[in-house]
């Protein structure tokens, strides 16, 4: 009996269950997307879904493939950071819906430092992290000392930071449009170094963002699982009162968690905007979806930092692939549709796991029933 217990059946392992559940979410999301394509125009539906899934493989030339793979990676780094931000807070039982706002604050801080103050890239990056951390800490303080639900305070802060950043960046706006200046035109030192990656991928926006993102991801995994601080944070999340009873500083831990989560989201913004891939439109009226997609990536990745790397890449892969559909029939937002259905499906993951366990219990008790009730 003891030997049997040590060997958990494959389907019982949490990792395997999470993987299965995530794959089901993806399949259902793709199915809904495919049905939508079929309804819009049955003729090209299969071709369209294939081009969404193929993304850069749709190109025949290897250089073009590599270039588009590079673009996908450039947008993966910020999403990964937002996802890790959400995940980190969730491990401490805090729902960081404010990743979107912290991302905005980070974007504002790093672009202001790069364009108005002409500071080097690492200073801009630290500024972005500090801005995100500050925003996160505000939610943390409100939660710890005033018992304000972090979801609500984060939503308010998302919008406050959007309007603040729009105002802040108006002076560095390109007079001919609504976007900010490119960093390359104002302060080449503000762009993240590429260390040859841009040459390798033949894509000028390819910077050290992706390697940094993966290192940070692994770092967060170590922090959560292998350090005393991580243990304390998780304990606080599981039961605030028990943690306090054991001498942990529960309030301080909540604030620290939100600050770290905020810094991660802010760092994500720095990774996108300091690679000069995109400029900030100072007239934008809604919070960028990056932070919200981070929630998607975090849950799709099974709330595991390593799983999140793959899920973030997958979401950006299909988003990028959406741009390849035949625009005479369909629109690129089909991939937004697919990824939002995937997030919706992710909320059923808990149910799916329970269902799997129930089925396993049933089949086990059936096979055990034959051998009598001795076990």
């Amino acid at each position: 009996m003891q030997a049997k217990r040590a060997q958990v059946p494959l389907l019982r392992r949490p990792m395997v269950q999470t993987l299965i559940a995530s794959l089901i979410c993806i399949l259902l999301g793709l199915l809904v997307g495919f049905i939508a394509l079929l309804i819009i125009n049955p003729a090209g539906a299969s071709e369209a879904i294939v081009s969404v899934l193929k993304n850069f493989w749709a190109y025949s030339k290897p250089e073009k493939q590599l270039k588009n793979f590079g673009i996908t990676l450039v947008t993966t780094a910020p999403l990964l950071m937002c996802a890790v931000s959400v995940l980190f807070a969730y491990k401490v039982s805090l729902f960081n819906i404010g990743a979107a706002g912290q991302y905005v604050a980070g974007a504002g801080a790093c672009l202001y430092c790069a364009l108005a103050l002409h500071l080097p890239w690492f200073v801009c990056m630290i500024a972005a992290m500090l801005a995100g951390a500050l925003l996160g800490a505000i939610s943390g303080v409100l939660k710890a000392y005033r018992n304000v639900n972090e979801v609500i305070s984060c939503i308010m802060l998302n919008w406050i930071s959007l309007y603040l950043v729009n105002t802040l960046l108006t002076p560095v706006k390109n007079p001919t449009g609504k976007d900010t200046y490119t960093i390359a035109s104002q302060n080449p030192g503000g762009i993240l170094p590429s260390l040859g990656l841009s040459k390798l991928f033949n894509q000028k926006n390819m910077t050290i963002a992706i390697p940094i993102a993966i290192i940070v991801c692994v770092g967060i995994w170590i922090l959560l699982n292998k350090t005393r601080l991580g243990y304390e944070l998780r304990a606080t999340g599981l039961n605030k009162n028990a943690a306090k009873y054991c001498g942990m500083k529960d309030r301080q831990n909540i604030i620290l968690t939100m600050a770290i989560a905020g810094a991660l989201a802010g760092l994500g913004a720095a990774m996108l905007y300091l690679s000069d891939f995109e400029q900030w439109a100072v007239t934008q009226a809604s919070v960028p979806a990056m932070g919200f997609n981070g929630i998607a990536a975090a849950f799709l990745g099974g709330l595991n930092p390593i799983g999140t790397i793959f899920s973030s890449y997958f979401i950006q892969h299909i988003t990028r692939g959406g741009a390849n559909v035949n625009t005479n029939m369909y629109c690129a937002q089909i991939s937004d549709l697919i990824s939002s259905v995937i997030i919706y499906m992710c909320s059923f993951v808990l149910f799916m796991k329970q269902f799997m366990n129930k089925r396993l219990d049933a089949s086990e008790s059936k096979s055990r029933g034959k051998g009598g009730n001795a076990a």
Binding site: V151, I155, M156, L157, W159, C331, Q333, S340, C346, F351
Partner: protein, 312 residues
């Protein structure tokens, strides 16, 4: 001045309707972060009907059909939340977030598909409804519309339903202590479905009112620009009570209107504050109010916790 009044009233109507919707959902025990998505779908339902209704439809018929379409679209969309949160005990914040993203994405796909089918070179996500919109205006040339009256009526109806009917009191019991409600024979699942669906109805109508506020065409790519979240702030500021929500909606609607028309006032123009300041103000106010009063919050006690018959 007149312009400020018009915009204040129209934004107040939007915020009040949507916040009342949130109020019903939360009193039944389900947090509705997805109000933004519900608004988009309600707006889509209304806009599509306006697009396809014959031009010479009688005013009254037009109003009735469009309003019903928006409400129906909102209710159908809110079922996504109801099923996930009530039957499958999903994380309500996660479902709400997904609904907000899905609302904008799905409506953009739908509208673009319709536009492209009509004319292959038209890839915009815009629906025009210049003619039908006139049906809702009371005084021609202004923004005073029947929606304002409708919002007022629905406010009173909501108050009466919540506090003076058996249904309303039972609904609130399910948000405060579902186990107790269940023990006296109230079907908690049914009541929560009712709460979420009412929030879909009011949210959908709110979305319709929003896209007819001062414009006769709407780009669905833009969603509803955070009005669902602002309504959430109104609901919290209004302490989950209809009468207070009305006051909060008036206040927030005023600030929102001010950000549109503040340049018309000399003394405000001289202050030289950017319009973003007025946009930000409602959120800052609600954050401060939350910080001060949250220790003894008026929020329904059991909101956000999936109800499980088996748990104690």
């Amino acid at each position: 001045m007149m312009l400020l009044l018009q915009y204040t009233l129209i934004f107040t109507s939007v915020l009040m309707l949507v916040a009342l919707g949130g109020c019903f959902s939360e009193h039944s025990g389900v947090i509705n972060i997805g109000l933004e998505g519900i608004m988009v779908f309600g707006a889509l339902g209304g806009a599509l009907v306006m697009k396809y209704m014959p031009q010479n439809t009688a005013t009254l018929v037009m109003i009735a059909v469009v309003v019903c379409a928006a409400m129906l679209a909102g209710i159908l969309y809110s079922l996504l939340l109801a099923v996930a949160a009530i039957n499958f005990k999903a994380d309500q914040t996660l479902v709400g977030t997904a609904m907000n993203l899905l609302g904008t994405a799905a409506s953009t796909v739908i509208v673009k598909a319709i536009n492209t089918a009509e004319n292959a070179s038209n890839t915009s996500s815009e629906i025009m409804y210049v003619g039908p919109k006139k049906a809702f205006i009371i005084v021609e040339g202004t923004e005073f519309s029947w929606f304002m009256l409708l919002a007022l009526v629905l406010l009173i109806v909501s108050y009466v339903i919540l506090y003076k009917t058996r249904f309303g009191l039972r609904l609130m019991a399910c948000g405060e202590h579902p186990q107790a409600a269940d023990s006296v024979g109230i079907n908690v699942y049914k009541m929560r479905y009712a709460g979420v669906m009412i929030s879909g109805l009011l949210g959908g109508l709110g979305g319709l009112v929003y896209i007819t506020a001062g414009v006769s065409a709407w780009k669905f790519e833009n969603g509803v620009a955070g009005f669902g979240f602002l309504a959430l702030a109104v609901m919290i500021f209004g302490a989950w009570k209809p009468q207070r929500i009305a006051v909060a909606a008036l206040l927030f609607g005023f600030f929102r209107a001010l950000s549109n028309v503040y340049t018309g006032f000399d003394f405000l123009k001289r202050l030289n504050l950017p319009s973003t300041f007025y946009n930000m103000l409602p959120y800052i106010i609600s954050l401060v109010v939350l910080a001060i009063f949250s220790k003894n919050s008026a929020a329904p006690k059991a909101e956000g916790i999936p109800y499980d018959k088996g748990s104690r």
